[in-house]
């Protein structure tokens, strides 16, 4: 393998004359200058793409949010902070979406605990238990369209959904899971749990395996019962996964979009509309990109604040890298 690579590099040396001016320029530089030149060449492909698709869009989003900006780009006018004024004062739809997103964030906290429960359940040295780790993790890798489709069919109204068909078969009255705001919220939250709990489970399993057995042995010698072992060894030992997962969960829940788009379309009556769904709707259905951008900026600020708090907390606790 390395022989082939050497051969290629040696063959490439016929291009040396082309690089001669570069070499001459490079030799004039200080050692650090030379490394800077090399480094910039290494970073260039990343730098260009990163600027275009990540860094510039931050500023462009802010810029667009200060305008009345239609998606076809025909009608653009400076608006100052009017978009924000409308968002924060008169737009009850956005305020509802904001509140709904907070509800989804709150409802996602149980995912962490269910994940812990699954991890404890599967953290035993039994032959064949690995299969169950695979099974519970599996939904996590499947696309949101598939997940949303399956669960929206399970919860569909009347006897067109699995659960209601079962209820009707047993002579009950069908429940309008997806047609009532509160129920639809729970259904979406539950679907998210089913979809993502395997990830939390795996993180906790890795964390559990990092706790040295000697701690438990010592506790047993001291006569600690199971609950005490759990309370004073397991829980403190899982501090890192807990911190990591709660931050991740909050950030992910702020961005809920796919489940809502597939399962409810934001309905009924806007009851499951999230911030990202609202951005999508306003920008691509009402074509008001400027207004959508203002919502995006608000979300960006919130998520950056969360990230910075996370960094501060992790550093204080000596958690994380």
């Amino acid at each position: 393998m390395s022989g082939v690579v050497d051969l290629i590099f040696n063959a490439l040396e016929i291009f040396n004359p082309i690089f001669a001016p570069y070499r001459r320029f490079n030799e004039k530089l200080s050692p650090k200058g030379q490394q800077t030149l090399t480094a910039f060449i290494f970073i260039a492909p990343f730098g260009i793409l990163y600027s275009i698709f990540t860094i510039l869009p931050i500023f462009q989003t802010i810029w667009i949010s200060l305008h009345r900006w239609e998606i076809m780009g025909t009608n653009i006018q400076y608006f100052g902070l009017k978009n924000y004024e409308r968002l924060l004062t008169v737009d009850t739809q956005f305020q509802q979406a904001f509140g709904q997103t907070i509800i989804f964030v709150a409802l996602s906290i149980p995912i962490i605990f269910v994940g812990l429960l699954f991890a404890l359940m599967l953290n035993r040295p039994i032959k064949g238990i690995g299969i169950f780790r695979t099974i519970f993790y599996l939904p996590n890798i499947i696309a949101v369209t598939v997940i949303g489709l399956i669960w929206s069919r399970v919860f569909a109204s009347d006897d067109r959904g699995l659960l209601n068909a079962i209820i009707v078969n047993f002579g009950g009255e069908s429940i309008p899971f997806l047609n009532r705001g509160d129920l639809a919220t729970i259904v979406v939250a539950f679907t998210t749990l089913w979809w993502t709990v395997g990830f939390s489970m795996l993180i906790f399993l890795a964390g559990l395996q990092d706790i040295p057995d000697s701690l438990y042995d010592a506790a047993k010698v001291d006569g600690a019962n199971r609950w005490h072992q759990f309370r004073y060894i397991t829980i403190p030992g899982l501090q890192r996964p807990f911190a990591f997962l709660s931050v991740l969960q909050v950030i992910a829940s702020f961005q809920i979009f796919g489940q809502v788009d597939v399962m409810t379309g934001g309905g009924p009556a806007g009851n499951t509309r999230t911030i990202v769904y609202n951005i999508f709707e306003v920008s691509f259905e009402y074509f008001q990109v400027g207004y959508g951008a203002a919502m995006a900026v608000i979300m960006l600020v919130i998520l950056m604040v969360i990230s910075i708090i996370q960094l501060a907390v992790f550093r204080d606790q000596g958690v994380g890298n």
């Binding site: 990540t54 780009g73 068909a165």
Partner: protein, 291 residues
């Protein structure tokens, strides 16, 4: 002496026997729970093999009687799903390879070279960890509109190649590689690029594989961007195609067909998962920086 040890053996054997029974029982309870947990998936598979009239009569059945492959022959013979499958394969593969190349080059510079502006530039890279695409995709959308590049595979491939996370992960990894290996090569007159290719890359295969698997999965499953960028049927990815199909066929009339299409969409990634299972499970700990 010998009787004592044989009594000990017997007790140990007895305990092992008890453990075995207890383990079997535990696995059995887990299996029941797993069946209930995955029952919607089982139901979906069963439903895809049932006829429409029988589905109209009763949805809640886990037995595919009368059995039919009609739904499957329909979706497999409609070229669209295969076309979208191809699009997904092309987009995710190129996206993943490009990300590995672009990000590992940058990571090498940050891990090994001592250059001006290194710290501020690295901090700028880390900013990307805090910026979700959902909050900044509108200008990217407008950029592709201006370039008339929507409804092309390029539009689906490009955003996200320059990933902060990938650079961060690989920088951490490259820093852990002993410098002596490179110094020896440098004595022999090898340039930085040659060192990168011949020394760093071969040593980084595990971390790069883990990264590649997750990038591939993430791109295959990505939703918001292909939803807004790809609006014509020929450039849908499988994930977006399924959404459109289930809307246009309508659920009331084509229940079985929709379920078959859902399984068709999930299947490639499930196979992918089982092929890389070990690496995925261990990679999650690596990728989340827990280990």
């Amino acid at each position: 002496m010998s009787t004592v040890s044989s009594i000990g053996d017997e007790m140990r054997q007895q305990r092992a026997q008890q453990d075995k029974i207890r383990h079997r029982l535990y696995l059995f309870v887990l299996a029941i729970f797993a069946l209930i947990w995955m029952s919607p998936v089982i139901w979906t598979v069963v439903t895809s093999f049932r006829t429409e009239p029988s589905l109209q009569r009763n949805l809640a059945s886990f037995i595919p009687v009368p059995f039919t492959t009609e739904n499957w022959t329909f979706i497999l013979s409609s070229g669209n799903l295969w076309k979208w499958f191809g699009n997904s394969v092309i987009v995710s593969t190129i996206h993943t390879l490009a990300q590995l190349v672009v990000c590992s080059l940058a990571a090498y510079a940050f891990a090994r070279l001592d250059f001006y502006l290194k710290r501020p530039l690295y901090l700028l890279v880390l900013v990307g960890l805090m910026v979700p695409f959902q909050a900044t995709f509108l200008p990217v959308y407008l950029l592709f509109s201006n370039l008339k590049l929507h409804n092309t595979l390029i539009a689906l491939i490009l955003p996200g190649i320059a990933s902060s996370f990938a650079v961060f992960l690989m920088t951490q990894f490259f820093r852990g590689i002993p410098k002596e290996l490179e110094e020896a090569a440098m004595m022999d007159g090898a340039g930085r690029f040659r060192i990168f290719i011949t020394i760093i890359i071969p040593l980084s295969v595990p971390v790069m594989t883990a990264l590649a698997i997750f990038t591939f999965l993430g791109n295959w499953n990505s939703y918001l961007w292909p939803l807004v960028s790809a609006t014509s049927t020929e450039v849908y990815t499988l994930v977006i195609g399924l959404r459109k199909v289930s809307q246009s066929w309508g659920f009331v009339d084509f229940y079985g067909r929709n379920m078959a299409a859902a399984i068709f969409t999930a299947l490639p990634i499930v196979i992918f998962f089982f092929a890389f299972q070990r690496r995925i499970i261990s990679g999650i700990a690596i990728n989340s920086g827990i280990k």
